[in-house]
C-alpha cells in the first residue's frame, strides 16, 4: 500500500498575548490510500491544529509550522507557495468541519456554496456545475436536491447542513478528506447517518480519510488505524484492533477505561483520568503524561520516550516498554488485571 499522506515530526506553534503555545510538538503519522486514520485525543491535544496544518491554514490564526514535513502525494506542503496550496485545497484535499450550524455562509445559497469549489478548480460550465452539484446532494443523501439547491442554510436542519458540508468537501473528488470532529455537534442518530454516508462514499471512491475525533465509539466504528494524541504528541498508534484490544500506552488504557460501554458490569465503575493535561506554554521535557501516569518513573519526567514497536504498525511512546524497564513492568504485572 502506498502512503498518500506522510506527516513527519510536525511542529506547530501559535503566538498569543500570553506567549508561544506549542500546540503540536513533533507529530508523525501516515495515511494509506483508501484507509481511514482516526486521530484521537482530548480537547487541546493538537489534533485539530494538525488538520489545519495539513490544509495550510494555521497561518490565518497567528500560527506557524515550526518544523517538520507534510508530504501529500510526493509534494511537500509546508514549503509550498500559497497559490499552489490553494490549488490543492478543495480539489485534492477536502475538509469537513465540526459545527454544521456555523460552517456554511448564511447569506449564500446552498447550490452556490457547493459550486464555488467546482468553478475554482475545474473548467466547467454553469449547467454542468449545477448538474454535478445536484448529483453531489443526492450522493450525500439529501432528498429533493433541486429544491435544496436554491435554499439557504438556515432552511436546513443540522444533519442536512453537515451533509452539505460533506458535499462541499467532496465536490472536486478529492483523494483525501480531513474530517475534523464531523459528528460532534450532531445527535446520536444523525451521527450514525453521517458516518454511514462518509464510509459509503469512501468505498465508492477509494478515498482516504483522516478522522479527527474524541469519540472512541466513532473510532471503533469507522477507523482502520488510530493515532492517539496527547499534549501535542502522538503517544500511541496502531490498527484499530491493536489499540482497542491491546493498548500499550497508559494514556490509551486510561482513555479506554473512561468510556462507558454496554458490556460493563453494573458494579464496574467508569474510571476518570486524574489531573489535567500539561500547560503547552511550557510543555514538559519528558513524557507529557508522566504527571498523571500511575506507572511514572523518574526517567519519564526527564526524557521523552522513544517509539516502542509492538508490531509493524503498532507503537507506543512509553518508557515502560523499554527493555531496561522490564523490572518495573514486572512489578505492575500483578495489577495489570485492574489497570490494563
Amino acid at each position: 500500500m502506498s502512503h498518500i499522506l506522510d506527516v513527519d515530526n510536525l511542529q506547530v506553534s501559535f503566538t498569543t498575548y500570553g506567549g508561544e503555545v506549542q500546540a503540536v510538538r513533533g507529530v508523525s503519522f501516515h495515511v494509506n490510500a483508501g484507509e481511514t486514520l482516526a486521530i484521537v485525543g482530548e480537547s487541546g491535544s493538537g489534533k485539530s491544529v494538525t488538520a489545519q496544518a495539513i490544509m495550510g491554514m494555521v497561518s490565518t490564526k497567528n500560527g506557524q509550522v515550526k518544523d517538520g514535513e507534510i508530504i501529500f502525494k510526493g509534494k511537500e506542503l509546508t514549503t509550498l507557495p500559497k497559490k499552489k496550496i490553494q490549488a490543492l485545497r478543495g480539489s485534492e484535499i477536502g475538509m469537513i468541519f465540526q459545527d454544521p450550524m456555523t460552517s456554511l455562509n448564511p447569506t449564500m445559497k446552498i447550490g452556490k456554496q457547493i459550486e464555488e469549489g467546482l468553478f475554482k478548480h475545474q473548467k466547467i460550465s454553469k449547467n454542468e456545475a449545477k448538474k454535478k452539484t445536484i448529483d453531489l446532494l443526492k450522493l450525500v443523501g439529501i432528498p429533493a436536491p433541486e429544491r435544496r439547491y436554491r435554499q439557504y442554510p438556515h432552511e436546513c436542519s443540522g444533519g442536512m447542513r453537515q451533509r452539505i458540508v460533506i458535499a462541499i468537501a467532496l465536490a472536486c473528488d478529492p483523494s483525501l478528506i480531513i474530517a475534523d470532529e464531523p459528528t460532534t455537534a450532531l445527535d446520536v442518530t444523525i451521527q450514525a447517518q453521517i458516518l454511514d454516508v462518509l464510509t459509503a462514499i469512501q468505498q465508492e471512491r477509494n478515498m482516504s480519510i483522516v478522522l479527527i475525533t474524541h469519540d472512541l465509539g466513532v473510532v471503533a466504528e469507522v477507523a482502520d488505524r488510530v493515532a492517539v494524541m496527547y499534549a501535542g504528541v502522538v503517544v500511541e498508534s496502531g490498527s484499530v484492533d491493536e489499540i482497542f484490544e491491546n493498548p500499550q500506552h497508559p494514556y490509551t488504557i486510561k482513555l479506554l477505561q473512561s468510556v462507558p460501554s454496554s458490556e460493563l458490569a453494573e458494579s464496574q465503575r467508569l474510571v476518570p483520568i486524574e489531573g489535567t493535561p500539561p500547560d503547552l506554554f511550557s510543555p514538559p521535557q519528558g513524557c507529557p503524561f508522566a504527571e498523571r501516569c500511575p506507572f511514572a518513573m523518574e526517567v519519564c519526567v526527564e526524557y521523552m520516550p522513544e517509539e516502542q514497536l509492538f508490531s509493524e504498525n503498532h507503537y507506543a511512546k512509553c518508557w515502560l516498554h523499554d527493555p531496561r524497564a522490564a523490572g518495573v513492568k514486572e512489578q505492575f504485572a500483578g495489577k495489570e488485571e485492574v489497570l490494563w
Partner: protein, 308 residues
C-alpha cells in the same frame, strides 16, 4: 400586507411628529411679527396675523394646518412673501439631496474599503493607518474641515470653486466636508463587523475550498459584514440628505438646511412645520427602504406583519 401595514404606521408616525412639533413650536416665546424691530401700525399686524390664521385659537390653527397637510399643502411662508413652503422645500431639497447622495457614496465606498482593509491587516500598519484616518475624521468637526478645504483645495491650489452653487465642481468640496464624519464612523463599524465575520467558521469552509484570500473576503466576508452596518446607514442617509445647516452656510449653498434653521429664529411657523415634516418623511421612508434592503441582504430575515 407587510407593506400596507408599514405605510399605515408611517402616516401615523408623521401625524404624531407634526402634532408634537406644532405644540412645542407654539410654546416658544414670541411670534413671527413680534421679533420685527420696526414698529408696525397695530392694524397692519392684526391684518397679518389674521392672514396666517394666528388670531384663531390654537386648536383651530392646528385643525386648519392638518387639513392643509392632508392635501400636501405646507402653507405659505411668513418670511418669503412670494413662495410657499412647498416651493421652498422643493427648491432647497435639490442641492441638499445632490450633496447628500454624493457624500454618502463617498463615505460608503471609502468607509467600507478602509474598514475591510483594516480588518484584513488587523493590528498591522494598514490597520493603524485606517484607524488614524477614522479617528481624525471623527474628531475634526466639518465646520473646521470645510474652511481648510476651501483654503487649500479652493484658494491655494485653485482646484475647485471656493463656494456657491452652480456646476458639478461646486459640489465637490462640500461633499467631501460632509462625507468625512460618516466615513470615519462607517470605517470603524465595518472594521469591527468584518473582524467578527473573519472569525466565523464559514470563512474557514471557504478557505478549505481553495478560494483565494480576496475571493473569501469579497464573496463571503463583505456581505455578511455589512448586515449590521445597514441599520446605521438609514438615519445617516436621512440626516445627510436633508442638508446640514453648517456646510450649506459655509459654502453658500441654497439647500434646505438654511430654511430649517432660519425658520426657527424667525418663528416662521409654516416653514418650521414644513421642514420638520419633510425631514421626518425622508427618515421614515429611508427606514422603510432599509428594512426592505435587509431582506435582500440577509435571507434569514423575513418581513412579517404580525408578531406570529
Amino acid at each position: 400586507m407587510y407593506i400596507m401595514k408599514r405605510l399605515f404606521t408611517m402616516v401615523i408616525t408623521l401625524w404624531i411628529i407634526a402634532s408634537v412639533t406644532f405644540v412645542i413650536m407654539h410654546f416658544i416665546p414670541g411670534d413671527p411679527f413680534a421679533t420685527d424691530g420696526k414698529m408696525l401700525p397695530e392694524k397692519t399686524v392684526e391684518n397679518m396675523r389674521a392672514k396666517y390664521n394666528l388670531d384663531e385659537p390654537l386648536a383651530v390653527q392646528y385643525v386648519l394646518y392638518i387639513k392643509d397637510l392632508v392635501m400636501f399643502d405646507l402653507g405659505p411662508s411668513i418670511q418669503s412673501k412670494t413662495r410657499g413652503v412647498n416651493e421652498l422645500v422643493a427648491d432647497g431639497f435639490g442641492p441638499s439631496a445632490i450633496l447628500g447622495i454624493q457624500s454618502l457614496v463617498i463615505a460608503l465606498t471609502l468607509g467600507i474599503m478602509l474598514g475591510v482593509i483594516a480588518a484584513l491587516y488587523h493590528n498591522r500598519l494598514l490597520d493603524y493607518i485606517s484607524m488614524l484616518i477614522a479617528i481624525i475624521g471623527i474628531s475634526i468637526p466639518n465646520f473646521i474641515l470645510a474652511p481648510l478645504l476651501i483654503k487649500f483645495l479652493g484658494v491655494d491650489w485653485g482646484l475647485f470653486p471656493v463656494a456657491a452653487w452652480g456646476t458639478w465642481q461646486h459640489t465637490i468640496l462640500p461633499s467631501i466636508a460632509l462625507a468625512t464624519g460618516p466615513l470615519a464612523i462607517i470605517t470603524r463599524f465595518v472594521r469591527s463587523s468584518m473582524l467578527e465575520v473573519l472569525d466565523e467558521n464559514y470563512i474557514q469552509t471557504a478557505q478549505a475550498k481553495g478560494v483565494s484570500t480576496m475571493g473569501v473576503v469579497i464573496k463571503h466576508g463583505i456581505r455578511n459584514a455589512l448586515i449590521p452596518v445597514i441599520s446605521f446607514i438609514g438615519p445617516l442617509f436621512a440626516s445627510i440628505i436633508t442638508g446640514t445647516f453648517v456646510i450649506e452656510k459655509i459654502f453658500a449653498i441654497p439647500g434646505i438646511g438654511k430654511y430649517f434653521v432660519d425658520s426657527i429664529f424667525n418663528r416662521d411657523y409654516p416653514v418650521i412645520m414644513g421642514t420638520t415634516i419633510f425631514f421626518s418623511l425622508i427618515l421614515v421612508v429611508t427606514l422603510f427602504l432599509i428594512d426592505l434592503t435587509y431582506r435582500l441582504v440577509d435571507p434569514r430575515i423575513k418581513l412579517t406583519s404580525g408578531g406570529k
